[in-house]
């Protein structure tokens, strides 16, 4: 296996620096929100993680479509990488949201539309990983996974739009004039800058981890091929 390419090493460094800068912006630049004060600072990383989580699930669906068209096993590796990383980021969004909810709503969890659809979305993709492991034939596994991510991706817009379509206590930040949401808060220009900075930062971190996970997938495939060669 080739050593880590220089662009990826540079991306690693940029990701770490951006992550530190995002932390600095959240704690030193963004002002305190008047009602929730410090706990509102979870919002910046919470929304960024949810964003990259959803982005990854859509990326996986696109990779699935390309696999179904081209039958190139590399797209199966890309699809798996996108799902795995998105699961991690979306889990962070769910957990951090839950911690933010405790002092804001008085409970860690409530079965309101956004939380319910987010939990279903996470479980759909956990099931994806479990079901993949149950299929030995690589071609069948890749075909099944591609179709699964395509169907599973329907839950992404449902989760995103749930706070706009149903009555909910979850805040609507983008287009906050929604009349179905009860928990919105106004954002000052500094809050907006911090939010977009963390969104950009986590997008870069996503790309970095995505590249590493794809390399790991390719290495795993190489090991699998060598093992098969040895058996012959």
């Amino acid at each position: 296996m080739k050593p880590q390419p220089v662009p990826l090493k540079i991306l690693d460094v940029i990701s770490i620096l951006l992550f530190l800068a995002a932390l600095a912006m959240v704690f030193l630049y963004a002002p305190l929100e008047l009602t929730m004060n410090y706990v509102q600072k979870i919002f910046y990383f919470h929304i960024a993680n949810a964003w990259v989580g959803m982005l990854g699930f859509i990326t996986a669906a696109v990779a699935g479509i390309i696999y179904l068209v081209r039958h190139d096993p590399d797209w199966d590796i890309i699809e798996l990488a996108a799902v795995e990383i998105s699961l991690v980021f979306f889990l962070i969004a769910i957990l951090s949201g839950s911690i933010w909810a405790r002092p804001s709503w008085g409970t860690y969890w409530t079965w309101e539309p956004r939380l319910t659809t987010a939990a279903i979305l996470e479980m759909i993709y956990i099931a994806y990983l479990l079901l993949r492991q149950g299929i030995d034939d690589p071609d069948r596994r890749a075909r099944f996974s591609a179709v699964y991510t395509l169907i599973g991706s329907i839950s992404v817009p449902i989760t995103f739009l749930s706070i706009r379509l149903f009555r909910t206590i979850h805040p609507v930040i983008i287009g906050a004039n929604s009349n179905t949401s009860q928990g919105s808060f106004d954002m000052s220009p500094r809050m907006l800058v911090t939010m977009f900075f963390t969104l950009g930062t986590f997008s870069v971190i996503f790309v970095t981890l995505f590249c590493h996970r794809i390399r790991l997938g390719r290495l795993a495939r190489l090991v699998e091929q060598r093992k098969l060669e040895e058996l012959r």
């Binding site: 296996m1 008047l34 009602t35 929730m36 004060n37 410090y38 706990v39 600072k41 979870i42 990383f45 919470h46 993680n49 990383i85 991690v88 889990l91 962070i92 957990l95 951090s96 911690i99 933010w100 405790r102 002092p103 804001s104 981890l209 590493h212 996970r213 390399r215 790991l216 290495l219 795993a220 190489l222 090991v223 060598r226 093992k227 060669e229 040895e230």
Partner: protein, 50 residues
């Protein structure tokens, strides 16, 4: 308005969870990479002997 002490406690808990989950995932990537590399080296070593 939320009490400062309670608010800070939950903020720290939130960021701790974010950092721990991210760190665990990055470490898992490193561990999986190293173990696959070891398997690959041993497979190639056996192939050379044969």
């Amino acid at each position: 308005m939320l009490e400062y002490a309670i608010s800070i406690k939950y903020m720290l808990a939130g960021y701790a969870v974010i950092l721990v989950v991210l760190a665990v995932y990055v470490i898992s990537l490193v561990i999986r990479w190293r173990s696959l590399e070891q398997v690959l080296h041993s497979l190639e070593g056996r192939k050379k002997k044969d």
